[in-house]
Symmetry: C2
């Protein structure tokens, strides 16, 4: 299977601690790296992860609270010092340009690469990035400021060639790509060999949803239906559900409820309040609702 | 002796690494904390140091290159979340207000404390902060952008009472503060006991100079004369002296030459280029010129 791998660089909430950086992740789809949120210290975490700075393809910010974006200017600055020349696109909600363009103009004046800021409409579900491997769309969330999550969906891969059948029917090499793409084969004598005899189905399409920060928003289950892995914020335990409501965050049980309604294959909870010394309390709470849940941790890698 | 203690939070140059945060230090004078430079990740390093966020008194930025100030907005934001109410003064060169006021207005809108930015003239030596314990003045440096170091000098302490003499002369308790302040004692009979019989001299006045980033600037030796400890950047070894000149940095030997010309008691070198895996090379180079040199390290504490 082609690579589809998540590296969690930070999964703490507003107050970074020596244990947790604030929100930042890398999604590696076929060796292109996409960054989701960009907390203070993200460049050092990225270096620690041994992922390649040069493979960074685009950056997506859910919202403009500091714990999701204070690492952006440092990262952009470092990419310049490292000699990047490829354009870098940064997507984020309202005010992205207001807030970051002046900083970029001042601190990245000598940047050897172009930084292109894109303000996205966080209230609409729409595709905002697409290449031949992946499609990235927004998931409207409900927080104190404009905020959206992201759905990362790989493009369909080709069908798998059955080596034995190719040999048995004497298919020429020149036809292999057509057959992988699903075409039948017509021999020089006019015999038609149907594709299903020559191939096996492609790998199933994998998807990953990154949903933070948000109140409990079950209406998103539609958009998230059948997602391979769902990262959902679980800032608080249910004991703090009033506080969660007040601050527009979710509890671990609510994150799990979203995973259940979405028929997700796997749930990863994160964005932990610094009050929890032991996040297993949150894990247990979520697992009661959705069994296949795991705790995010800084540096953790999840292969889809 | 009263507390005068330096904690190095970061001593790397432009590129932060897992080994070195960029420039940031805390100087603790009698339990008031003064921060010098404020690199990305400084708030986590401060937490690790176990120094008290609530004792932070003022922040001083040498210049507005990212590796000296990208941690400011995160720190200010966190101080707000921690409920600080005391005013916080931030000193820095030209453009401090241009660059940081908009960020503060956006990200610290709900800050429970006032953040007051002071632009200082980095070309002049002048006292910019004073309280009853300490005086902080600027040291003009020569870098690619407006930049100044800082000289932190404690205020004179009182003379030490000689308990034995006080008892022998039968001095009343009410007179002790006057005698500590240097006055003679006149007894009810009119006898004058000279102060030098009743006291020992006060502790010598300690000072600390923080000089980064700068080319070799020997004219500063005058201002730095007799400094107790000098922190001086030593970005490169002498092998890279052309690069040092071009980028307006100093070599380890040049840092040591400044310490020697200044008759400093101790030199601490830092702001190491990330190219050096082993900074002992820089230490050896400096020690050839100035013996009492030590290498900065993240988390290192130096008691004056």
């Amino acid at each position: 299977m082609e690579k589809f791998e998540i590296t969690i660089l930070g999964c703490g909430a507003a107050l970074p601690t020596p244990r947790h950086l604030s929100s930042s992740q890398i999604v590696n789809v076929r060796e292109k790296l996409f960054m989701f949120d960009c907390a203070e210290g993200v460049q050092t975490a990225l270096r620690r992860s041994r992922l390649k700075f040069s493979h960074l393809n685009a950056i997506f910010l859910t919202h403009l609270h500091g714990d999701h974006c204070f690492g952006l200017i440092g990262l952009l600055s470092t990419l310049g010092l490292l000699g990047r020349t490829a354009d870098l696109h940064v997507f984020g909600p309202n005010n992205l340009v207001n807030v970051f363009q002046p900083q970029i103009d001042f601190f990245c004046e000598e940047s050897p690469f172009r930084i292109i800021l894109h303000e996205i409409d966080s209230k609409q579900h729409s595709v905002i990035y697409e290449d031949r491997s992946v499609e990235i769309s927004t998931i409207p969330l409900s927080h104190r400021v404009p905020c959206c999550g992201f759905l990362i969906k790989e493009k369909p891969t080709l069908r798998h060639i059955r080596r034995d059948a190719i040999d048995a029917f004497g298919i020429p090499v020149s036809q292999i790509n057509n057959i992988k793409a699903g075409l039948d084969y017509t021999s020089p004598d006019g015999d038609v060999i149907p594709n299903h005899l020559l191939t096996l189905p492609p790998d199933p399409i994998r998807s990953y949803a990154y949903c933070t920060d948000t109140t409990f928003k079950p209406s998103n289950a539609d958009l998230l239906q059948g997602v391979t892995a769902l990262y959902h914020e679980a800032t608080f335990s249910s004991e703090q559900s009033l506080l969660a409501k007040k601050t527009h965050h979710s509890t671990a049980a609510q994150a799990a409820e979203i995973a259940k309604l979405s028929n997700a294959k796997q749930l990863i909870i994160g964005h932990f309040s610094s009050r929890y010394e032991d996040e297993n309390k949150l894990l247990e709470e979520a697992k009661k609702v959705f069994t296949n849940t795991l705790l995010a941790a800084d540096g953790k890698r999840i292969i889809l």
